[in-house]
């Protein structure tokens, strides 16, 4: 059953993810890209802000480019939870009928978006890295497929809204325009139907900043030599202000925990700079990082596959090069 | 070389190869370094049903035999022969029960051995009884419905970790070699204890300890076969297990050859891979040919052992002798191909070379194998001339 396109749908929406009272970086990126699309369509850019005691964020969102902010501020929204957030977003979309809904491709976004899109029986494109509009005003959503070996542009021509999750760090953040105002719409939600309890939220002492959102990632592989040398990778990350990542081999060997694993069975990252230290570059690793803007490879073996995708290649002992690099950075 | 394995044998080989590659190889160097018994891998082998392959179906096995066991041992040995021998030694401990056990004994012990729930071990060697089996001093004295065992067995693979021991002890000193008997002793029996873990040159993942029997009292139902059969039990068991030692040797050699070939392709000296030098090529060619010849001999002996043909002592001895000598030579050459790197622990070939040596020594030194072969030759010739 195809939804009739009366074209009554209007506007570009950005779902606002926030942590500890702060707007997530990816939201500012979405506001920038959303602004561009909204302008092209000649329609408003709106934010969906769900949370508890978050109303104060709506003026920030307006300064970052939102024309409208829909706010549902209830105690139950204290922490992110799929059940209630999905119900609320579904309700808001059905009520206010946007044309496009953009959601950050974070753990939460990638859990929320498919639930909502399925309820609405509409299309959803995952981890987009590029947007455009075709002549009929359909959203052209481009995403990497097959581990980044192929780019696919997806359309959702006959269903609304057009929904997409967006890979963090691909778009630049919107600039703040102090004093910019918009319309705040406080919404009343129907009765909530909880299915889960969040018993605990634990921030693990990750080494360095959050891998998913880092601009710079320094990764270590088996070629680093041993767990005792992995510290070098951490020190380099610290010197560069980046996050620490690792290949599967060293996670399996227990040098660092799984949350740092990049690659096919770990995380996918697309930072501005990725420094691969002692990583040979098996395809399973490459699929997790080859969208990085600049790739530096440091490896003893000049024939290591990692060099085939590296912007800069350094052949030599990781244990000598990293300290030299740290020294260069600090001088 | 194509050995025309059945679908089931192919499955066994591939599964063992997968476990060797995914679970054994990554920890082989660590097991060697720490001299740790590979319990975790033993349980993976058990879950994969690999202890079942050589056990008849009526005792929870999959109905294969020596050949299937050899396939598993060979694949495991490519990654770590310390692991392989721990696996194979359970077979060494179990074959006496399969060959000479009563139906009751088989039903009692074989299902747990087949499932890998319990490991077995074979205790023959003593401080003063190595090649000379007739010199064993451990005694078993009948006392009512029991036997009481006293003595110390030496260099027993799986000792301490195994739960089922077949022990050869003297029941009648006056009868010499025909005065020994085989007994099943379970771990936990009062009077059974284990000596310290031996420090070895190779196969360091496997545990090798003394089995100490001090007034160890076992019921007479634990006698295997009848009194006086001890020596025969040992010899017939070795006929079944020597092809397995051969398979272990072939596996180590193949593992070393694989490393050497890959290294020769990648190592560049004088601006070309060393595999382009004839000196290296000839070494690799000889290593490969000898390994393949050893495999052919081992597979033939294993198939003979399963076929039920009469005397297989000569074939089993030849397989063990030839394969172990090849293994020693190939691993030494593999270290040579890798040069200085081969001598270092970062590369696996020095371990393979250390592991290789034992295959020339245990389950009868290669000198004993030659004696067996020569003795059989003379016997065969005598039989012919009598006709």
């Amino acid at each position: 059953m195809e939804m009739q396109l009366e074209q009554t749908e209007r506007g570009v929406w950005v779902f606002v993810e926030h942590r500890k009272g702060e707007i997530a970086g990816v939201v500012l990126e979405l506001l920038n890209e959303g602004r561009r699309l909204a302008k092209q369509l000649g329609e408003p850019l709106a934010c969906i802000l769900l949370g508890s005691s978050v109303v104060h964020l709506s003026s920030d969102l307006m300064e970052y480019g939102a024309d409208e902010v829909y706010v549902a501020d209830v105690p139950e929204f204290d922490t992110y939870r799929d059940d209630l957030y999905a119900d609320a977003l579904e309700y808001l979309i059905e009520t206010y009928r946007p044309k496009i809904v953009l959601i950050g491709g974070t753990s939460n976004g990638r859990s929320l978006a498919p639930r909502v899109a399925t309820k609405l029986k509409t299309g959803l494109t995952a981890d987009c890295t590029e947007f455009d509009l075709d002549d009929e005003g359909n959203l052209l959503q481009t995403r990497p497929a097959f581990g980044g070996n192929l780019m696919a542009t997806i359309r959702c021509p006959k269903h609304r809204p057009q929904m997409a999750t967006v890979r963090p760090k691909v778009f630049t953040e919107a600039k703040r325009e102090t004093g910019r105002a918009g319309k705040e719409i406080l919404v009343e939600l129907p009765e909530l139907n909880p299915w889960m309890e969040i018993l605990e939220v634990v921030d693990e002492d990750a080494v360095g900043p959050n891998l998913a959102e880092a601009d710079i990632v320094v990764a270590g592989g088996r070629g680093v030599g041993g767990p005792e040398n992995f510290q070098l990778v951490e020190e380099l990350a610290k010197a560069l202000g980046g996050a620490v990542a690792a290949s599967r081999a060293v996670v399996d060997a227990g040098w660092i925990n799984y949350s740092h694993q990049v690659g096919q069975t770990g995380r996918t990252v697309a930072p501005k700079l990725y420094v691969a230290c002692g990583i040979s570059g098996a395809i399973q690793h490459l699929v997790g990082m080859q969208s990085a803007e600049t790739i530096v490879a440091i490896n003893q073996d000049p024939d290591a596959p990692i060099f085939s995708i590296a912007t800069y290649g350094l052949v030599g002992d990781v244990k000598e090069i990293i300290p030299a690099l740290i020294k260069a950075i600090k001088s | 070389m194509e050995y025309f394995l059945t679908e089931e044998q192919q499955m066994i080989k591939e599964l063992a190869a997968r476990i060797a590659e995914e679970r054994v190889k990554p920890v082989a160097a660590e097991l060697d370094e720490k001299e740790e018994f590979p319990w975790e891998i033993m349980s993976i082998l058990a879950e994969a049903d690999l202890f079942r392959v050589w056990v008849p179906e009526e005792y929870g096995g999959l109905g294969g035999g020596v050949f299937e066991q050899a396939l598993v041992v060979e694949e495991l040995s490519k990654a770590c022969s310390g692991v392989a021998v721990s696996y194979a030694a359970s077979g060494l401990g179990a074959f006496p029960i399969l060959l000479y056990g009563s139906e009751e004994q088989k039903n009692r012990y074989m299902p747990d051995i087949a499932s890998g729930k319990r490991l077995a071990a074979f205790a023959l060697t003593e401080a003063d009884a190595g090649s000379d089996v007739s010199a064993i001093a451990t005694t078993a004295v009948k006392d009512g419905d029991d036997y009481v065992l006293n003595g110390t067995k030496q260099w027993i693979t799986n000792a301490g970790d195994a739960e089922i021991y077949v022990v050869i002890a003297v029941t009648d000193k006056s009868k010499g070699a025909r005065g020994s008997s085989a007994f099943i002793v379970e771990k936990g029996t009062p009077g059974l204890s284990f000596g310290k873990k031996e420090k070895k040159l190779g196969i360091r993942a496997s545990s090798t300890r003394e089995v100490i029997l001090e007034n160890c009292r076992i019921p007479k139902e634990n006698l295997l076969g009848r009194e006086g059969l001890g020596f025969v039990v040992a010899m017939k068991t070795f006929d079944k297990t020597r092809p397995g030692i051969g398979a272990q040797a072939v596996g180590i050699a193949q593992g070393a050859l694989d490393v050497a070939v890959n290294y020769a392709r990648e190592r560049v000296q004088f601006d070309q891979p060393i595999s382009s030098f004839q000196g290296v090529q000839f070494m690799l060619a000889d290593m490969a040919t000898q390994t393949e010849a050893a495999r052919a001999l081992v597979y033939s002996a294993a198939k003979m052992a399963d076929s039920g043909v009469g005397n297989i002592s000569k074939a089993a001895a030849m397989a063990k002798l030839f394969a172990s000598d090849v293994c020693m030579k190939v691993t030494v050459d593999a270290v040579q191909v890798l040069g200085g790197y081969g001598y270092m622990r970062e590369y696996p070939v020095e371990k393979m070379m250390r592991d290789a040596k034992i295959t020339q020594i245990y389950e009868g030194t290669n000198q004993i194998q030659r004696s067996i072969i020569a003795l059989e030759l003379v016997r065969e010739a005598a039989r012919k001339s009598r006709k």
């Binding site: 859990s111 959803l124 959102e213 | -």
Partner: protein, 259 residues
Amino acid sequence: MHIVVCIKQVPDPSQARIDRETGLVIREGVDKIINPYDLYALEESLRLKEAHDGQVTALSMGPPSAEDVLKDAVAMGVDHGVLLSGRDFAGADTLATSYALALAVQKLESVDLIICGKQAADGDTAQVGPGLAANLDRPHVTEVRKIRHIEEDKMVVERLTDTGYEVIRLSLPAVITVVKEINEPRIPGLRGMMRAKKAQIPAWDAEYIGADPQRLGLKGSPTRVWRTFEPTRHGQGEMLRGTAGEQAVLLWEKLRGRL
């Protein structure tokens, strides 16, 4: 308890190649394997089965060749395999896929838990798990790294987040998707492999699960691939020369301008 594991057959990602002329993925000559993430889902279901005396059904949608991955699942120890196969299912996006899988789950008896891998290695969308839950109108938790325990009609799980983890209690039946950290998948044993060879895998079609053909396959998929193309490759990179120290200094000169 009855656990359903959803698995997918995918082209081996390590052999992925693209036809430079058409920009399409070459599927010929590429081994088809079980989606690597699904092995963790299977392993977790088997551990739950062993701990709670349950049964496990593996469910897959795909061409007839997908029977192979269901047999792999049987070899690992699942009790039954079910294949959704037929022309109606072809060309499905994640919406149509989760619709079909939901109907198949409803066809099975009293399902308590559905486990999926975090995502499929060919699509990487991670959308089918949550979509399946939405279709079933049941809760879901993604990226589960540990099942703490199961209560009567609830379970407590740890969910990996971008900054750490959360502990969540959710009502059953439910859908969870699991990450690699949750377990180490077993290698199937010989008896399992032999059982798998003989196993009959029923194939269910659209009619059997009572599906609306308009919501299946390409017809039921709101998203359409408009075009595919090769990503702009990093050009042949620059290899720096010199000693370790020299290379390091050179690199930093090049990088500092970019950061």
